[in-house]
Amino acid sequence: MIAVLTRIFGSENVELAEDTVQDALIEAINHWTYKGIPENPTAWLFKVAKNKALNILNREKYKKQHVSDVAHYLQSEWTADPALNYLFSDQEILDDQLRMMFTCCHPSISSDSQIALTLKTLCGFSIPEIAKAFITAEENINKRLVRARQKIRENKIPFEVPQAKDLEKKLNTVLETIYLLFNEGYSASKGNDLIRYELCEEAIRLAEIIETHPAIQDKSNVYSLLSLMQLNASRFKSRQDNEGNILTMAEQDRSLWDYSLIEKGILNLHKSTVSNHVSVYHILAAISGCHCTASDFDSTDWQTILLLYDQLLQLDPSPLVLLNRSVVLSKVKGPQFALEELKRINTNPSLKSYYLFYSTEAEFYINMEEYDKAISSLKRAIELSHLKAEKSLLQKKLDRLQKKA
């Protein structure tokens, strides 16, 4: 609804659209508590919003200016009613949601603000909900929203799907934001689990809107991102035990995985390979797919995963990829080999202060039964880790080791 109203009022008035929807909701709740919920609440709500939109456009302030192409329709006696029905039709709502994504994820807006505005306008999150999801103060979220709206006004960011030449680049920014949104929900176990899973679901829903839209022709990256998110989300509920401790892939109860999501993810992975184009999403999705289709941890196809990591390195030669690759390497070629690999990258400053580097190192030492070295690596990892669940996972491992050593 916010997307449709933004189209009517113009992207510079996105806040007016947000407020109008808020007003309509409040009016609905007041009315419904008094008279009971109507048969078709959605239609009722749309009607209230339509009337509010007309009233706003008829205010003197907007009479003089055509705030958007469609505002012109809404100011004529003949066209106002048909135009509102047209604008609130299912297809137009989908179109407007897509336009809204491109407006929210414009490259001139910082990614923090992009995500906040997307959640507010496209996912119906309130400011307190967004603040809760990001574990930050409401005030911060509000600042991000204000900055985003300001950029839209200043840079006259249009409310439209970009034209062919621009489309690919801008679509990639939108996909990046969706992936960031997904990872906000998926990464670690900070904050409320329910809200975090909702972030993942919203990210998937937004990608699905793009996937079904005829305006986007080259969907290779959309399919692969969708596949990646679905495959990862399928494991969401098995990643922690009842006490909130993080479980490794080997410890997870695979019967908790969501196999209908895995099926969807694999299907989208196939669709993404129709073109020859290979992105980071493709490879990550394929890796995730390898894990999801293994019936148990021991039958994981590490050989294939290693090949995929080799490809990933060519696209993204970052230390983090190298670190993850070393884990796979230890499965294929043994921990000794993987340790050598780690030694090659341990000069990297961002890895030096990263707890996963040391916990990975410890894992290799454990496999080689060099417990003293493992203990000192683990201690370093505990020092560097920030999250409670991670710390306790490492601590447990350390306790077990110290008994052995």
Binding site: W78, T79, A83, Y86
Partner: protein, 120 residues
């Protein structure tokens, strides 16, 4: 693609003959007609004109304004449309529900001339 103006020309108030129920139905047909044009991306705008107003003319060197002659044909509104050619524009005009409901009106279909170059 070419732009056209469709002028609705009426004498008096042709809608007067409709009963309230017929009028309701007529409005509904009009809304469907306009909605379809929008969906096809063929409508740029459509507005009714109020029956009041005046006509300015040069009467013996003096600009005078006078009321419309109500019995004469006046423009009751316009549709600004986009069509492939005059044939399609004519078809769009013919589909207007004022004809189906046999109202006393005519539609003038006029291509809009666009700039072909600037003479300086």
């Amino acid at each position: 693609m070419q732009e056209f103006m469709l002028f609705i020309r009426t004498e008096g108030d042709p809608w007067q003959v409709l009963s309230p129920e017929q009028m309701q139905l007529h409005i509904q047909k009009g809304a469907n007609y306009i909605g379809n044009l929008m969906k096809q991306g063929k409508l740029k705008g459509a507005q009714p004109l109020d029956a009041t107003g005046t006509i300015i003319g040069d009467v013996g060197g003096i600009l005078k304004d006078g009321p419309f002659n109500e019995t004469k044909e006046v423009i009751a509104g316009y549709f600004h449309i986009v069509a492939n050619d005059i044939e399609e524009a004519k078809e769009i005009a013919k589909a207007n529900p004022i004809f189906e409901d046999k109202l006393k009106a005519r539609i003038e279909v006029r291509p809009i001339r666009i700039v072909e170059g600037i003479n300086d």
